[in-house]
Amino acid sequence: MRYGFFPGCTLESAAGELMISTKKVASALGIELIELDGWTCCGASHIQDVDEFLATSVNARNLALAEKLDAPLMTVCNTCTLMLRTTKKDLDEDPELKKKVNKGLRESGLEYKGTSEVTHLLWALIQDYGIENLKKLVKKPLTGLKVANFYGCHIVRPPQIMGFENHRNPRSMEMIAEALGAECVDFDQRLACCGFHAVFPAEKEVLKLTATNCISSKMAGADCMVTPCPLCQMQLDMYQPDAQKGYSADIEIPILHLPQLIGLALGYSPEELAINRHIVNAVPKLKESLGV
């Protein structure tokens, strides 16, 4: 299995631990990730507010880079996935737009053809790798660990663009967590928004959302939350101390990236997966539940 890897900006800075854990997990599973040479920011759902055509063009360029490798494009970020899939859909459905966009790419010797699919690690594990194959590599089953799967919006919505599974009741995260031996809790905010994209203009509201998301998973008995999106992870983890300030109830809960959860079951230590970098320390809980 071979993918054109699109890390996205956060993996180069605040979510460096996701880069580390993704690479560890991919190599343990025998998945080849070739980082796209010269990839740019996907626009993160902001550039279209300034110039929609530009947002489409920049992502057409990213897609063309994957096409050059003759491989599907893989991300580990919900918003990157949505931005790239939106562009792909727009271009594939509108030949006029495609022509216009390609005119801009031609100057740098690139062309968008539409030959590379856009996928996320979560989907690739289920669709391409197979849950049964994943199970075979589990060295340290996560027995006793209760996880709250926080999907994040952009891995399921809008379904016309994402469409991998039923957006009102997805199961992919549960399938993976259960394959690793963890127990999944059901909680109200499972499909809620983390609010990250408006944390500056809507800080008060977004911190309220963070607190609600944390409390909801805690009340359901979770030891930690797990998310397939680095932006959700940042919002829930980095901003948790700020969200706590508004409430007397203890909202503290550790937040893991999906590849970190997988890595634990493959036998890596929390340090090898850079779990110790999170603001809310996950290590004590993991020690208590898993003895790692």
Binding site: E17, F53, G104, S108, G109, P159, P201, E205, A274, H278
Partner: protein, 317 residues
């Protein structure tokens, strides 16, 4: 015999309770069919609203297992498949005051809707004598937004409204502003758009719930992007939302990637950032989560990206 079990959240104006109804499962029926059956055959005191039964009047919105649906348009079998259960919990739409049972109060929303002047402010060219003609192409711009049936499903699902004090405009109100701002017969689009900006336009959290659940498939989030772009064209660039969007726009042009270290300063300004975000930054540096000295380098092919920017500017002209 297979059975439906409906647990309906009820409210009589003072007391709230959950009432359970059981009746035989039938294939190929809608949500509204079931509610009507309960009222007709089991409990006449149950209150809900409906009229057209054809997804036109917009009165039959309801929440099932936490998600909002248009009752007359939604097959029960689809819901059973989604939740893998015939036991379903019914609640009134969220982010509305409840009058009785599943009946919500639209009055405050109508008052809020008026903020964006949801009517035509005619152009000079049109008159009662000459009429207000529109070409097919001009009409096609407003064809989709005029499909809104004011069902309130988008409001009920809106991630921002869930945590907002009530100022943020409901997605259907944003749709109305968009619809009149784009109407070729309207001569004063700013009058529809300024109130949108004044009422927390930049607080949309991009949760995609409105566009996902709108039973009319209205591209509400694309409209929000359009409204934002238009406010910036009108000159409103000195606010957090616009500055944040431009930070991304500028960084990609400069190096290809986002400079996360500089983002708060660009969005909030130096003073506010030092006051507010230094404790957070310190936490992050301490944990090794960020390296304050990391500056993204120019990506391979940056010249090509700048050419794309230049080209996009020509195209948008």
């Amino acid at each position: 015999m297979e059975k439906f079990i409906f647990r309906i959240h009820r409210y009589d104006g003072t007391t709230k309770w959950v009432q359970e109804y059981q009746f035989p499962y039938e294939e190929n029926k809608t949500v509204l069919w079931a509610l009507t059956k309960i009222k007709d055959e089991i409990d006449p005191t149950l209150n809900f609203t409906s009229a057209c039964r054809h997804a036109i009047c917009g009165s039959c919105g309801v929440r099932i297992n936490g998600t909002s649906y248009l009752g007359c348009k939604t097959p029960l079998d689809e819901i059973i498949e989604t939740f893998d259960s015939k036991m379903l919990t019914f609640e009134p739409l969220k982010n509305y005051d409840v009058i009785r049972d599943l009946v919500i109060d639209w009055k405050p929303k109508m008052k809020k809707l008026k903020l964006v002047k949801p009517w035509l402010i005619p152009t000079e060219e049109g008159s009662v004598e000459k009429g207000f003609k529109q070409t097919e192409q001009e009409f096609s711009k407003i064809a989709s937004p005029t499909d809104c049936i004011l069902c309130g499903v988008c409001t009920s699902e809106c991630g921002q409204l869930n945590v907002n004090d009530g100022v943020y405009l409901d997605p259907f109100i944003l749709n109305k502003a968009y619809r009149f701002a784009l109407d070729s017969r309207d001569g004063s689009s700013n009058e529809h758009i300024q109130p949108v900006l004044d009422n927390e336009l930049w607080k949309c959290i991009h949760c995609m719930q409105c566009v996902t659940n709108c039973p009319k498939g209205i591209p509400l989030t694309d409209q929000i992007a359009y409204l934002r772009k238009t406010t910036m064209k009108m000159g409103a660039k000195d606010n957090q939302g616009a500055r944040h969007a431009y930070a991304f726009y500028d960084d990609v042009k400069k190096v290809g990637r986002l400079n996360e270290m500089m983002l708060p300063i660009k969005t909030d300004g130096m003073v506010k950032t030092i006051g507010k975000r230094v404790p957070m930054a310190a936490r992050m540096v301490y944990k090794g989560k960020i390296n304050p000295l990391h500056m993204p380098k120019k990506v391979n092919g940056i010249e090509g990206i700048r050419k794309i920017y230049k080209y996009a500017q020509e195209v948008s002209k």
